[in-house]
């Protein structure tokens, strides 16, 4: 070990060519320790449920704000890709708060940074980003099939006026139309983005564009309305003064009928000459560019949580894995500003690279399994000089061209990757993933079949294939994440006799048949919650075979004994919590626990569920 003796009164400096530099070897040792301690102090943190405030199911993010600037950074595909694959990830290393927190998590001294927009039940309140739908109150089959649509498909009795070519650089052919007379086409409320299939894979892209947004809508996300349309290619006119197309060097120029024909020549025509397409209705409001999956908008005071720390964006990683939504780049998100109510709503758009489609082409086996430039797999391939065979290194095989490449066989929920790294997905914790898995597994077989039917595959076998793959992917997700967490959910308190209650819950792994056994045993204790110090035990360790914890007379007596009357007033000092472990092998092995917090409500003389802490 190199030793250094600091001489009293020495300058502790060295001079090099006129530059005075402080040698690192002569920094006082205490300073180094202090810096290290400081970093660890800041990096090592535990999460706990904040029970101090009331529970909320609606975020306060619809306050009027001045019209924000349009976000432009996320619109550029090459920069977005390079940034996410290289610069962002390197930058994360330099974010010492996150880096040290990560190190702290690895060595067990800290918890990861959990989502910042969840309520005490670890759920996402409704907001301009997300609305609880199918997972909390089941949608009917008709509602699932309808998705976000309002019945305003483009009016095929009118001649469609082409307003512009498709703006994005994606390879899916398409253009923007207005289904009303020319004089009404100034307003984008009559505009639709029309997207087509490729000649090699008829129905593939349009089916994906129909199916995926319906799943995402049911999951709770904001998506545009998508309609499947069949139209006569001769019923187009081009707006003579407003229709623009990006020509050579992306310069805008007036669009001509020849441009439309050139697009239509590249798409499959049906035997009767008509063309199948998907019409995506323009979103209400004024577009403000894509939302980034990192940071916040600086000009939106409603945007208070870093995007990568939003639960619904982190959990989207699991939903995207289910749908093979590989193209979650920034450009496939859009903020719309309501000019009347003056707030921003956040949408997901463009679902042409989902299921088996990669825009106009079929997905490649590597997409969904590795990033476009995945340093991990590249290093592994190089390091192993080819001995490492990636499980997804398989020939591209498609049973149905209308489906593209979509399978469950090589799908691994832990390994799934979008094409570009997504900051929100990178920050996803187990709790976020569990939340996403709950959404995915909320789709029953019937739900999946209903939504897939909206893809209107000509070949019924293709439809069945897609539905089956989705069911298998759902089951893999559920099996994987419900094993990593203790999947107890839907905690409710039910009155029994006199003052007694029962805390009922559902074991999602058992419900969905993902558990290793059909029967589970639960071990629980009930303690009084105190802010600091050791919690007093109210109910010693007990075992039950059904998901119902009795808060019966004996419990109430024990609780009354250990709780002063002053603490039964319904404030935070009257909180108790139960810690529940689950076993699927009659107590041989136990899962990590779930802590459920209850508060005594003196007015109703009942306990209420006020918080859930899922340990990971």
């Amino acid at each position: 070990m190199r030793k250094h003796v600091s001489m009293p009164g020495s300058h502790q400096m060295k001079q090099f060519g006129g530059m005075i530099m402080l040698s690192p070897y002569i920094w006082p040792r205490a300073t180094l320790w202090s810096i290290l301690c400081l970093f660890l102090f800041l990096g090592g943190c535990y999460n706990h449920v904040d029970l101090s405030g009331p529970l909320t199911w609606k975020a306060d993010d619809r306050r009027p704000i001045p019209e924000p600037e349009e976000e432009t950074e996320g619109q550029w595909f090459i920069w977005d890709g390079a940034h996410k694959m290289i610069f962002y990830r390197v930058g994360q290393f330099f974010n010492f708060g996150r880096s040290l927190r990560t190190v702290g998590t690895w060595i067990g001294l800290a918890d990861p940074i959990e989502a910042g927009n969840v309520n005490a039940l670890d759920e996402v309140p409704n907001s301009t980003w997300y609305t609880n739908r199918h997972v909390t109150s089941r949608l009917s089959q008709e509602e699932l099939s309808r998705g976000s649509t309002t019945g305003q498909s483009p009016d095929s009795t009118n001649e469609w006026i082409v307003m512009s070519a498709k703006e994005s650089l994606g390879s899916t052919p398409g253009f923007v139309i207005c289904d009303k007379p020319k004089e009404q086409c100034d307003q984008t409320q009559h505009w639709y983005l029309i997207k087509f299939d490729s000649l090699s894979n008829p129905e593939m892209t349009t089916a994906s564009e129909m199916i995926t947004p319906r799943f995402l809508h049911a999951a709770g996300y904001n998506v545009p309305e998508h309609y499947l349309v069949t139209f006569d290619p001769d019923k187009f006119t081009v707006h003579p003064t407003k229709a623009k197309i990006r020509g050579k060097y992306r310069r805008k120029r007036l669009m001509t009928k020849e441009d439309v024909n050139a697009i239509l020549d590249r798409v499959p025509h049906r035997p009767d000459g008509t063309i199948r397409a998907v019409a995506s209705k323009y979103l209400p409001g004024k577009p403000k560019g894509p939302f980034l999956y990192e940071r916040k908008r600086s000009d939106d005071s409603n945007d208070r949580i870093l995007h990568e720390n939003r639960r619904e964006l982190r959990g989207l990683g699991v939903v995207a894995a289910f749908l093979n939504h590989t193209d979650t780049k920034a450009a496939n998100a859009l903020d719309m500003y309501d000019l009347e109510k003056r707030y921003i709503t956040h949408y997901l758009i463009d679902f042409s690279s989902t299921l088996g489609a990669d825009n106009a082409d079929p997905q490649l086996p590597r997409y969904g399994n590795e990033y476009f430039l995945d340093f991990g797999t590249v290093a592994r391939s190089m390091g192993s000089i080819g001995a490492y065979v990636k499980p997804w290194e398989i020939p591209l095989h498609m049973d149905y061209p209308s489906v593209g490449y979509f399978n469950a066989e090589y799908f691994d929920p832990s390994r799934w990757r979008p094409t570009f790294p997504n900051p929100a997905f990178l920050h996803m914790t187990l709790r976020d993933a569990y939340w996403g898995a709950k959404i995915v597994t909320s789709f029953t077989d019937e739900d999946i079949e209903s939504i897939v039917r909206t893809g209107e595959y000509t070949d019924i076998r293709a439809e069945q294939y897609v539905a089956n793959v989705l069911k298998q992917r759902r089951d893999k997700i559920g099996t994987y994440y419900f094993k990593l967490m203790n999947p107890l959910d839907h905690f409710t308190l039910q009155a029994t006799q006199s003052d007694a209650q029962t805390l009922s819950f559902e074991n999602l792994a058992v419900t969905h048949d993902y558990a290793p056994a059909t029967r589970a045993t639960y071990r629980y204790t009930i303690r009084r919650h105190v802010e600091y110090g050791h919690d007093a035990v109210i109910v010693e360790e007990s075992h039950i075979n059904s998901p119902q914890i009795p808060l019966d007379q004996s419990f109430l007596e024990a609780w009354a004994t250990r709780t002063s009357s002053a603490n039964m007033s319904g404030d935070n000092t009257s909180i108790i919590y139960t810690t529940i472990h689950t076993s699927y092998d009659d107590g041989e092995n136990w899962t990590i626990p779930v802590n459920v917090y209850l508060r005594f409500n003196p007015s109703g003389q009942k306990f209420e569920v006020i918080g859930i802490d899922r340990e990971t």
Partner: protein
């Protein structure tokens, strides 16, 4: 020791004392059940009670300062990248070099460690002449330190719609710093006793007419006319007794070629055989000094491993020249093994003699989408007569490299190979193992 104890104490206290929370808050009523979602319980909160992100704290902001510095550092890259996309810079650049159909144009070329040692130049080409997939190519390379090479080639895959193929090549060389190591397989390396220098001017034209015979078999007939003028170079001159030094030569060459090629791709093969045999007769037309015959035999076997993603390539190559009527073979026509000719750990021009025997084994594996890595080992020797061949005199080299390949063509190869004589770096665009026997530029 004390510091360590203090550190651990502070650590334990600190990680336990830092708690993070971040739930949404409102002044709404409490929910009694998590199973029932009440959608409209939120009201506007005072500004100081609205949720904030844990990472918005001052301390996290301070700790994120290096990330902001990093962003500042990458800002110019970001601006350049966006500008690149905004103005469609790639298309603009391609338009400078290629035609609208991207079937032809003028592109820069470069190489380091190639047959001329290294150089830069331009290649003009068209791959779909007359819309009939006829190819034409003209290239000029300025080598280091003062070597020049010009090439012109024309390929017609179906002459007048017939099954016959036609290849026509013109080559012009002005080599002022060529290297020659007298002594064949025992030539010393050191500059004093081994490497010699020469100058060479050469003009060569050849025509090959071929046609498929049956299946993957094809045959062709090769004819070549060339003029060469070689003399001693600067520095340590090539010995005057070496045939070809200080003389000029005009000669013609003819010969048949038989090929069996079942490879699945010419540029990125992963399966199949390539078997090729040639015979040539060369005679001087402006004198009686040089006359010789040559023959080559080459066998390549590509073995796909794991569905073709990994390929083991095995290759054997034999070439031999024999002088006729006690005449000579000019040194610049000798068979050669070096970093451009199969023995990749040896410098340019290192081994040359009438005969060459070479074995290669190469393991190619995927690294990224269009990039594959390779490991290879080469064993070869040059010889004057077959009886000179010995198992213990094989020269060995081994190395690794990366090939950035496209589906139909090949763009760039970076390769490092080592031998008993040191390391060799090669950076060039080429197709592996494609060579023309009997021209100085061989694998150019």
């Amino acid at each position: 020791m004390n510091a360590m104890i203090i550190f651990l104490f502070i650590l334990m206290v600190s990680v336990g004392g830092c708690a993070s929370t971040g739930p949404e808050r409102s002044q709404s009523q409490q929910s009694q059940s998590t199973a029932v979602v009440k959608q409209d319980l939120g009201t506007d909160l005072p500004e100081d009670m609205r949720p904030t992100d844990e990472e918005d704290s001052l301390l996290y902001t301070i700790l994120a300062a290096p990330e902001y510095l990093w962003k500042g550092f990458t800002y110019p890259i970001k601006k350049m990248s966006i500008l690149y996309e905004e103005v469609d810079l790639l298309e603009r650049v391609l338009d400078v070099f290629l035609n609208d159909a991207r079937t032809g144009g003028v592109v820069p070329r470069f190489e380091f460690g190639g047959a001329l040692g290294g150089g830069i130049g331009l290649t003009a080409f068209h791959n779909n002449l007359f819309n009939q997939k006829k190819r034409i190519r003209a290239s000029y390379l300025i080598g280091f330190p003062d070597n020049h090479a010009g090439e012109f080639s024309y390929n017609d895959p179906a002459v007048l719609g017939s099954p016959y193929t036609l290849d026509f090549n013109l080559l012009g060389l002005d080599v002022d710093r060529g290297r020659f190591f007298p002594g064949g397989n025992r030539a010393p390396k050191d500059r004093d006793g081994g490497q010699t220098n020469f100058e060479l001017d050469e003009i060569s034209g050849d025509v090959t007419v071929g046609r498929p015979i049956v299946g993957d078999f094809s045959g062709s007939f090769f004819s070549r006319m060339f003029y060469a003028d070689a003399k001693a170079g600067s520095g340590r001159d090539i010995p005057a007794m070496v045939p070809g030094v200080g003389t000029s030569l005009t000669a013609f060459e003819v010969g048949p070629q038989l090929t069996y090629d079942s490879r699945d791709s010419q540029f990125r093969p992963s399966d199949g055989w390539f078997i090729d045999a040639t015979f040539t007769y060369t005679n001087q037309v402006d004198g009686n000094t040089f006359e010789y015959v040559g023959y080559t035999a080459e066998v390549q076997r590509l073995i796909p491993i794991f569905r073709g993603n990994r390929v083991l390539l095995l290759r054997a190559y034999l070439a031999k020249l024999n002088s006729l009527n006690d005449r000579a073979i000019p040194f610049y026509e000798l068979n050669r093994l070096d970093r451009n000719h199969g023995l990749r750990g040896y410098e340019r021009g290192r081994w040359s003699d009438e005969g060459a025997l070479l074995f290669n084994a190469e393991w190619r594996y995927p690294v990224w989408a269009q990039t594959e890595g390779s490991l290879f080992i080469d064993a070869g020797q040059v010889f004057n007569e077959f009886r000179d061949l010995e198992t213990r005199t094989f020269r060995l080299s081994a190395g690794a490299g990366f090939r950035f390949v496209t589906k139909e063509n090949f763009a760039l190869r970076v390769q490092v190979a080592g031998s008993e004589e040191g390391m060799q770096l090669l950076l060039k665009g080429d197709v592996e193992f494609q060579r023309k026997r009997g021209t100085f530029l061989g694998g150019l």
